[in-house]
């Protein structure tokens, strides 16, 4: 494996035009290489993620964008056969150093998945509170908290009378907002979103995007999307991934209006991908 990784190791080159200063970054990845069995997914990613901003990861299928955000909260290693090298610094601390407990990392860096996955045997209320249950925390004022996070996820008005109903009884878009409420309830500082709208219709998608706007500033959001318009609408910074590498990273408006790299330009103009 190591030999393979050396071959694929790419000497750092200029792709980061974001201008994010080290002190502005909440997460910095340092040459992150990831693989599944013998398939290399990431070939050495070094990116700063700006605190309180929305960062979009775009790129064609199989470019490693989902793998990348899963390395940020140690969810990559959950998949059998997954391996990783490199450092991911969260608030200056490497989350892959041996003394770090992945559970603690995941409490600080929450995640929303591609397919809405509320727990089917739990009610809406229990879904929002499931993080406490899973972490073994006895939480006071649960009702207030449930209401607060459902409001945060812009779902409260739709479900306030049905809190006892199963989470799976909601529509797809509502389920996804429930999953966002559930992720926010563990009070992370970073929220990772892995194509959160890919299973949703345009109206539900618009509501999630509104929600992302309302969370900006209080949370750092990293969103993977295959939808370039979505990236342009929600993100402050955008990274274009291709074949396990970052091709270009910049402020979203600049990246879309004035890409520095030919590949980026081809992709965002729809010439491939």
């Amino acid at each position: 494996m190591n030999k393979n990784m050396e071959e694929h190791y790419r000497s750092p080159r200029e792709f980061d035009f974001s201008g994010i200063k080290p002190e502005e970054a909440i997460i910095t990845t340092d040459n992150v290489q990831a693989w599944f069995h013998k398939t290399i997914a990431l070939k050495g990613i070094s990116l700063p993620i700006a605190r309180g901003k929305v960062t979009a990861i775009i790129g064609p299928s199989g470019c490693g964008k989902s793998t990348f955000i899963r390395t940020l909260n140690r969810m990559h290693e959950v998949v059998p056969g997954a391996g990783l090298r490199g450092r991911v610094l969260f608030e200056g601390q490497d989350i892959y150093s041996p003394e770090v407990n992945p559970i603690v990392v995941r409490k600080k860096i929450g995640m929303v998945f591609q397919k809405p996955n509320p727990f089917p045997m739990m009610s809406i209320r229990q879904n929002v509170a499931s993080g406490f249950l899973l972490q073994g925390i006895r939480s006071d004022h649960l009702d207030e908290k449930v209401e607060y996070y459902l409001r945060q996820a812009a779902l409260w008005d739709e479900v306030k009378d049905d809190l006892g109903k199963p989470g799976s009884s909601l529509s797809g878009g509502q389920q996804q907002r429930l999953c966002i409420a559930r992720a926010l309830a563990i009070e992370p500082s970073v929220l990772l979103m892995d194509e959160p709208c890919s299973a949703l219709d345009p109206i539900a998608t618009a509501r999630i995007e509104d929600l992302i706007h309302s969370l900006r500033g209080r949370y750092t959001i990293v969103i993977v999307t295959h939808n370039m318009q979505q990236a342009a609408r929600v993100a402050d910074y955008t990274a274009f991934f291709y074949l396990g590498e970052v091709i270009e990273y910049n402020r979203t408006d600049t990246l879309f209006k004035n890409p520095a790299n030919k590949q980026t330009e081809d992709y965002i103009t729809g010439r491939f991908g």
């Binding site: 959950v78 059998p80 559970i103 929450g110 499931s130 899973l134």
Partner: protein
């Protein structure tokens, strides 16, 4: 073989005729007959049971059968109260489930949540080998090994008792419970485990707070199917539990289960048509109904589980 559609020449008219061979046409009926055999035999068994049971209840009242507490059809002073046999079956089944539920569930959790894929693939079939051991072997294992062992720990344990065959029966049922629970646990979508882990759940809490509750009705279905195996199991209890119908909940003394009673009468020289002879059909009918109810419950639990997950 039919040609794949893509290979057809453009413009040519599709030839949709394909002569069906005799075998092709006949095979359906042959297979239907094979499948029908088991259905017909089952219906035949039920009809026989029903006929003999009706014969039995023409001579013995329901009231005596269900409210008497003595079962002595083979003695001159005949009593036909079924409760001693039910108590015997309940006792042995209880100890069987006391063994099989924790062992089976924990094996299932290990196999599905903790075992590396290679171990899972090797261990699951070998667990099922346990279910292939002839029950007579289990019976003598209970009588000659487990009972003497238990007698050292449990005071007043008779040579024939309900605990030892119950535990051994539980060991026999463990693979069924483990295998069916494992199926249920394994079919819980990966996305739910990931959701739980991403919320900061440890592996243990993820398993017990999310995976097992999600698979719950499937797991309970496996318990119930195991239970119905325990109730119907014959050889182990015949060998190791004694053959003394006794209306008791003391597991240390010899008892007799419904199944063991049927064996006892079948092995003896009870003549056809006598009341003693027809008792085994009444007991058999009750046994059939009990396991049927359990199997139906298991079936519906399983369906509910699948509906809940998918």
């Amino acid at each position: 073989m039919r040609n794949p559609a893509g290979k057809r020449e453009p413009g040519s008219q599709a030839d949709l005729r394909l002569p069906r061979s005799f075998v092709e046409r006949g095979i359906g009926s042959v297979l239907l007959v094979c499948a029908a055999v088991s259905v017909v035999v089952t219906i035949g068994i039920i009809l026989t049971l029903l006929k003999e049971t009706i014969g039995f209840f023409q001579r013995v009242s329901f009231k005596e059968f269900f409210f008497d507490t003595q079962w002595t059809p083979l003695f001159s002073n005949k009593h036909f109260g079924i409760w001693p046999l039910i108590a015997g079956t309940a006792l042995t089944s209880f100890f069987a489930m006391l063994t099989a539920i924790p062992l089976g569930l924990m094996s299932a959790v290990y196999l599905s949540e903790y075992a590396p894929e290679r171990i899972r693939k090797a261990l699951k079939p070998s667990l099922e080998v346990l279910a292939g051991i002839p029950t007579v072997v289990y019976g003598y294992f209970a009588l000659t090994f487990v009972t003497p062992l238990l007698q050292k720990v449990i005071p007043g344990l008779a040579g024939f008792n309900a605990i030892s065959p119950g535990i051994v029966m539980g060991i026999m049922i463990t693979p069924i419970v483990a295998s069916l629970s494992e199926d249920a646990i394994y079919s819980v979508p990966l996305s739910l485990r990931e959701a739980a882990l991403a919320l900061g759940g440890s592996r243990l809490r993820t398993t017990f707070r999310v995976v097992i509750p999600t698979a719950f009705s499937g797991i309970v279905a496996s318990f119930i199917l195991g239970m119905s195996r325990a109730i119907g199991e014959t050889m182990i209890v015949t060998i190791a539990a004694g053959q003394q119908p006794r209306f008791t909940l003391d597991p240390r003394v010899p008892i007799e289960t419904m199944t063991a009673y049927i064996v006892q009468v079948s092995l003896g020289d009870t003549p056809h048509g006598t009341i003693e002879y027809s008792t085994i059909f009444a007991v058999g009918m009750l046994l059939f109904l009990i396991t049927l109810v359990f199997n139906l419950i298991a079936h519906f639990m399983k369906k509910r589980f699948l509906r809940g997950v998918l």
